[in-house]
Symmetry: C2
Subunit: 478 residues, 2 copies
């Protein structure tokens, strides 16, 4: 934990993209690697992902999902079998042509996702209805070659989980798709991030899916981040890979499938939703360090007392929190404050000579950047409540922000700024979405869940003026 060169973080309001890039680097979340488009995720950034992963793992395990591991390589011919799928992924593939000193007869793609890697094997495993449902998940790296990489959000390699399920009926598979969307929505809540859950449009859905459900998150620059997706694949892949089962009726049927995934772009979302001009603001649930303790002293006598005190407090708190003591004596308290604020540590305890004498600590909360003095005997209760408050406050701030950055419009002529979202009635005609994208760089993000079964009666499409179908949200996106 040595002294970094002191740099100034670009102001968020001045240049959001630069602020993001600076912050990811300065807070030591990640940095660019030699391999174009790929990132190096440093311990502080990876720990945030590991905490998200642990929570999602727990949820999936409680729900009876089991983990599996398939090879990273997919025979190209498998990928090419589902026509929409290969059209969607072909431009982003990395191809292995040589291995073990020889040219390969059958070239291999590095998996961009694993439908084509898994489902031939599913066909072998699923013999009859007794083997259903099959609900498997894989924590893995995948590769999608990016022309315009961005830290966490668009790297050519990323870590994620991909669930792949098979059911006997459409009803069950659609229910699974929805259940996973709800779990993802909870995971975003765990990160104090409110999301907009619903359905994707034809042009924005997963290549190979019948329907894609999504949770969309609003970054502080008003762009949308696709937080996670849950696909209902129907029998699209089952037909191609011959995933049949013998039903209790004695006949052979195709299985109904899903896939669903959440990646470490969630870390990028956390930065973009909660961060401010001073750096990260991490919700306690996913903060690698929840409490940082800064001992403050001027001479050896006070040093001894202060360190004794801070060690004792630290030892107590470690039973409940992820705690770090910053005892670097070549850095000033002020430097340390900035250092840990940049890193978004939710709570800072300042312990100086006066605090020791008065049996108190000064407690700083990063979400509001405010301080209070707390009597030591009350610290445990105070912190328990504070952690909840911080989570709640970060969530509420994000909710208020997104609520105030959506504008209802009736015609695309009302679109001025592109740093907000638009709510509008839409014909759902892909041609109009293409026009919208060309003109404003804006696309449909999500048909909110509450609007899925709610026709926009007697309303006109905000683009074409034709009859509208339902009310959607539109925005620029990452």
């Amino acid at each position: 934990m040595p002294n970094l060169e002191k740099k100034t973080l670009t102001k968020q309001s001045e240049d959001f993209a630069q602020w993001y890039q600076d912050l990811v680097y300065e807070a030591e979340l990640a940095e660019v690697s030699e391999v174009r488009g790929c990132g190096i995720v440093r311990p502080y950034g990876l720990k945030i992902w590991e905490l998200i992963k642990a929570e999602l793992s727990r949820r999936l395990e409680d729900d009876g999902v089991e983990n599996v591991y398939f090879p990273i390589f997919v025979p190209l011919e498998n990928l090419e079998a589902e026509k929409d799928h290969v059209k969607g992924f072909a431009p982003e593939l990395a191809i292995v042509t040589h291995a073990g000193g020889e040219e390969l007869t059958n070239k291999l793609a590095v998996r961009p996702t694993s439908e084509a890697a898994m489902y031939k094997t599913y066909a072998k495993w699923i013999q009859s209805y007794k083997y259903l449902p099959l609900r498997l998940n894989q924590w893995a790296n995948v590769v999608r070659w990016e022309k315009r990489p961005r830290a966490f959000l668009r790297w050519s390699e990323f870590l994620w989980q991909e669930g792949h399920t098979a059911f006997a009926t459409e009803t069950e598979a659609r229910a699974e798709s929805r259940k996973m969307l709800d779990i993802y929505t909870d995971i975003y809540k765990f990160m104090a991030i409110p999301g907009f859950s619903g359905q994707k449009s034809e042009s924005e859905k997963f290549a190979g899916a019948v329907d894609t459900l999504t949770i969309e998150v609003m970054a502080k620059d008003g762009k949308a981040i696709q937080g996670a997706t849950s696909h209902y694949l129907g029998t699209n892949f089952a037909e191609v890979f011959k995933v049949n089962y013998l039903g209790s009726d004695g006949n052979s049927h195709l299985v109904q499938q899903n896939s669903w995934g959440l990646s470490w772009r969630a870390v990028g979302a956390v930065v973009m939703v909660h961060g401010d001009d001073n750096g990260l603001r991490l919700p306690p649930n996913i903060a690698p360090i929840q409490v940082v303790i800064i001992p403050i002293y001027k001479d050896e006598l006070s040093q001894k007392k202060v360190l004794e005190n801070s060690n004792k407090i630290s030892a107590d708190l470690k039973k409940k929190y992820r705690v770090k003591r910053d005892e670097r004596d070549n850095e000033s308290p002020g430097f340390k404050y900035n250092y840990w604020e940049l890193r978004g540590v939710p709570v800072r305890l300042e312990i100086g000579g006066r605090e020791v004498e008065e049996n108190k600590v000064t407690v700083f909360r990063r979400d509001l950047n405010t301080k209070e003095t707390v009597v030591l005997g009350e610290l445990a209760v105070y912190l328990k409540k504070l952690m909840k408050d911080i989570h709640k406050n970060l969530y509420q701030q994000a909710l208020d922000f997104s609520g105030s950055h959506i504008k209802k419009i009736k015609s695309w002529e009302e679109i001025k700024a592109t740093n907000i979202w638009y709510e509008a009635s839409w014909s759902e005609d892909p041609a109009t979405e293409k026009e919208l994208k060309e003109k404003f760089g804006i696309v449909s993000r999500v048909l909110p869940l509450k609007n899925v079964s709610k026709p926009a009666k007697n309303k006109k499409c905000f683009i074409s003026g034709q009859a509208a179908k339902r009310d959607w949200l539109f925005a620029k996106c990452y």
Copy 2:
């Protein structure tokens, strides 16, 4: 959990290799994939790895090691920079030549290990002695193209962890190397596996290392499995990647490095060390299911009572153990016994009408294949002791086995069977090792720790008859 076709497991004593292959498949640990040399690890097999991983993770975290993630791709020129390293790994590389629809100017290797992927960045991170030691670890997949793949032990892709550290001094780096060997030794003990810890010979050490420490495990066919390795790299890579630090003396120095890794071949070791003719025998620590409950009934009346009872017992035990109730009513108790014995579940509870009436359960332990009847009120205490006993017994059996399968010899003319290990005084001349390998298929496995500083005074090399240096262990290996 449907009914598998009933197959007979090849007898371990008749054909060990076939027994292993059968068991890995039948117990649903893993199976071969379409991609040559790569395996599919199924939930039951992956869970064993996840339990090993969780324990090792905990140990590393307690020791202050932090996790990091570097890209899966390594520029070929980086790999080629360290001459011994590339010589060792070049024949096993998988090469990406095309990505994003274009031919790459700089070809990329899929990482076979990450020294060449990481250390250029280490050079950037480590500015002065204040940044040392740097102790990072990565949980990742790596690819080494295998001509002769074998489940878990030699797959072209495998999951592992690789630690990469940098220190100021050789003393510290050598101590780290030894510390990690000790942690790996503990992890094998956690799996109830005794290992032979020590040093590798010149020809068997890691390509690019100064010294390699290893833990070698004896499979039941007498072959050696390299369980994990911990390398002292000296300044070999630091020179190539210019990993210098400014010392407190004001001068620039090269860092002293280590790398150390343990892979899912540990799962293969568990199968080969503990398995028997009836299938797996899993130590409780790493058993995905620690207790399986089989309710036994003949009519509806007893069914109701038995199920009520087994549900209650199951709910109680789930607080402490990984428990599974097998309530399939299309399978006989006998079928279920075999099914779970094959899968190595350490403890089976049989609950029938008589047990319910008498407030008892029948407890079967897989390590000894014996049964006892236990009063319900004493079950908790009984199981707690039993789990410890099973672990201890499996460990002792493995220890006894390996102890009785090592023969001390003075000349290689005494080598008859190759299904045991040999202990012998050796000149440590690589040429003699080559001869030994050609003649018997046997190589040096390890110079036991206790012999590292113990010269074989006045002894002769068992191969050449020249002066011997130290006493080594030799064996066939996986």
